[in-house]
Symmetry: D2
Subunit: 291 residues, 4 copies
């Protein structure tokens, strides 16, 4: 596979995938899912709600200066850019990538109390932080080229009959901040949160069943043997947004960490479980997108 | 449901389900499964092999005197009994229960080194001991009555349209030594081994995939929310014998621990996973049985 | 070591160690410890409190008839017996063993909702059930003989210079319902609760520190390599009562499970940690006892 | 505390702490410790051995160009720099930091097969990768200033009576690549490896005891509540080199992640366990150092 050359000194520093802006139809149901079961906390709330969709995929840059450079980069590439006001965030940039993914960048947000040490407030799956997104799009190659140009590194990829099926792109030193998979899109396949350990995956499944919500557990706990190698649990929130939980991952930092190639269909995406059709086929539209 | 009265002072002491006598077609493949993956050790071996089937379900009584009383009890109930020589075991009784399950009782076996403390020899799923059997048979009620008469206590049961679908019977203070489920039989649905903790279930699944044997993982890890409540992993050995691994269970010892009734189909036998059809339908014949 | 002959068919059936009656000085502090941190629930409460001490060690017999036989057995052995009224319990027998341990036997208690399946109510260390007691007394040999006579089986013992230092006695098929250790007494060294898995030991330690109560964590998590072999965590409640948590244990049921002998001081009671002096020396007086 | 301003766009990219060069007196004993117990694999070996000491602390830069810039930076700061030949590594730079720590930088090493996915080869503590070093030195402030100037970010620090006692410095997005603590030095306090989960800490302790090496377990498993917040296990290799194992850590990437200040002695470095004196006082000399 002819892969684009990595850019080791990109002109700006996108640090990580950091947040997701979603629309949900029932805030109480979402709170039960994300807070009571996943273990997140509410940092602000109002009464807005709407047709379920994904508004934006959020990423962080390190500094305000990086934000300006990102804006210039997207504008030079011909994508629309807009500075917007977003509550609790400093300057925020909206733009779009070659796949049509609606993106949001900022350098800083208001901070909240760090909860990592507060073992007494751990509950549910004890989700720690957002880790990555998976986008489905027919433009996998274009996405690879464009993100590589912004300093993202390719950690793993899947090839089928000579064409790219899936690319894992990362900035923060684990295998993925954003993943693109070849299907009609752009649509969001899932966002993923890290949880502390494997037993948290099993415990939250118990909680879903005890709450008569076992239908929200889609697939797992199992392991994505390829690509990715993480143990995972795939969930669906009350509006159908897919959320993946996974306990930890390998580091990939050194320059000699070459991208790992997998050949479909030999790869084992569910490990010992065959993924259900809905895991392959159900994805979430971006707001106002026709796809 | 009209249940038989428990017998709290049975005339003999059957202590536990203890062992299984199986026929397998390939000893090397079985060794890889039971030793390398499940974590058991070989205590003796020869070259015998045959058509895959289950010869006998094995139980222990406490004393040699109990063994004679068990023989008398089965004989009085009209079942054939036979004293047989079994290598590594003291006096051994072969008989049959109302379902047609071929049973083997003994009081003592030759002992081997205890391995519980040998953390350096733990490997694979680290299976600790055999825990229980599940038999499929249309004679669930007869089995309940007969085993209750021998001092087994009913811990949980499933009712469908007023008739018994499943009974959990125990002697050793956890929910089951033997389970009868209503289907054509007698055939063996599974035997189960206890493993130390939940993470061992996930680890052994990894091992199956790494060894390109993920087809031997049938169902799970998940939790039998009802009946039983144990986390479990359902495996198939190279000959198709089903083996369940589970990490621990509740105790049920006191006289006021009433049997728990579940109403089918509301019970959640796979927790958050719908059991695959093969888990319901595939069972193993007893040797020489026509069923 | 000359050990008493096991009694395999005792005239009555003591099933397990089941409960402890303690006096504490501050009910709110005790509730924080036992409920918020250990994970138990309150089933009844009043405002009684007193000087910290242990009133009684509680055991269950299977039937009301067993209770009468136990009374006759203790009376025949010359120990005072008394039938008492205890709230929430049926007929209750108070008596004393050769070590001077104040004992309480009953066959049944009022039941409460089973919580084992209620994963949503698990919290803290998720303690599941009381498992065993350890008594310190100079009368280790007398205790061994007397309990053996009641059908308790010796699972492990420690010998120092030819005399018994410690005996593990069991009825329920794991290594201990009651343990006697050679020191001035009778006093209670600890009672022990089973928790589901090892990670619960680590999690509850976090909770103690987060609550500025790390002084209540006395020793561990570690493993009693000998005798016993269980991973454990030793805690002290707000009144100094020692509570041990442990995640699981081996089964010992068969007649050929011979008692395991350990030779002091070679045994490794803290595994990789040297027990602190207070773990050896601090014990709790029984109410009204002069020792 | 007046802290140096972070450098968000350093002129070169040091990516992580990556390796340690140690001298040991008995290669077989070291292999037993690092391979059989910690879970590492040997990638090359010869028969060299010597007086136990630490030769060099190793770090990675991203590119060969970064390596030249690092050399220029140290030289301009007045530190000796030397290009050396090191087997299995590309161009390698030796230099010294303000504390006197002997450092080694390189951009690339020969790679070996990735083992992350090889669950069948996991053993012992299943150590995944080197994470960080702790150096003791009276020059904590100078070290903070110098490393900050190279783009390291301060994640946590301890203050006692107004002066810096401890600084945690990181490049890879978790709390530490290198830690400096105020004591006579420069000497190495420990290097740390990440393991997958908490249960691996408990399991490897079992292995040390089973192998009669419990003396090599120094402290833990416990949690460094402050600073750092990681669960850990502190070990000593056969030559006394201290190795810390820890299962995971928080991420710290965003610009608004301010350094966390702890005030000694209120901080809880052992969580619920008081660190043993040897953990505070025993450290390892650097080769040819007089301290």
């Amino acid at each position: 596979m002819d892969l684009p050359a990595p850019v080791y000194k990109p002109p700006f520093n996108i640090t990580r995938s950091s947040h997701l802006v979603s629309r949900v139809s029932d805030l109480e149901a979402s709170r039960a899912f994300y807070c009571d079961l996943l273990g997140l906390v509410v940092s602000d709330e109002d009464k807005k709600r709407g047709e379920p969709s994904v508004e934006r995929v959020g990423m962080r840059v390190l500094t305000e200066q990086d934000l300006d450079l990102v804006q210039a980069h997207f504008a030079a590439a011909g994508f629309p850019t807009e500075w917007v006001e977003v509550e609790h965030q400093n300057r925020t940039l909206h733009t779009t990538d070659p796949a049509g993914t609606p993106l949001e960048f900022c350098a800083t947000m208001e901070t909240r109390e760090r909860l990592f040490a507060h073992a007494d407030r751990y509950h549910g799956a004890c989700a720690l932080r957002l880790d990555h997104f998976q986008i489905v799009t027919p433009k996998v190659r274009e996405s690879l080229d464009f993100y590589t140009g912004m300093g993202f590194r390719l950690s793993e990829y899947v090839v089928a009959k000579g064409s790219l099926e899936m690319v894992f792109l990362q900035r923060k030193g684990n295998p993925h901040d954003i993943v693109f998979a070849n299907r009609t899109g752009p649509r969001l396949h899932h966002c993923a949160y890290q949880v502390p350990e494997t037993h948290h995956l099993m415990h939250v499944c118990d909680l879903f069943v005890v709450g008569d919500k076992e239908g929200q557990v889609e697939f797992g706990p199992a392991r994505h043997f390829s690509p990715g190698l993480a143990r995972f649990l795939s969930l669906r929130d009350p509006d159908g947004h897919r959320v993946e939980l996974f306990p930890s991952h390998y580091h990939t930092i050194d320059i000699e960490d070459e991208p790992v190639e997998w050949e479909a269909p030999a790869f084992k995406v569910g490990g010992w479980i065959v993924p259900p059709d809905r895991w392959w086929n159900d994805t979430m539209a971006f707001t106002d997108s026709q796809r």
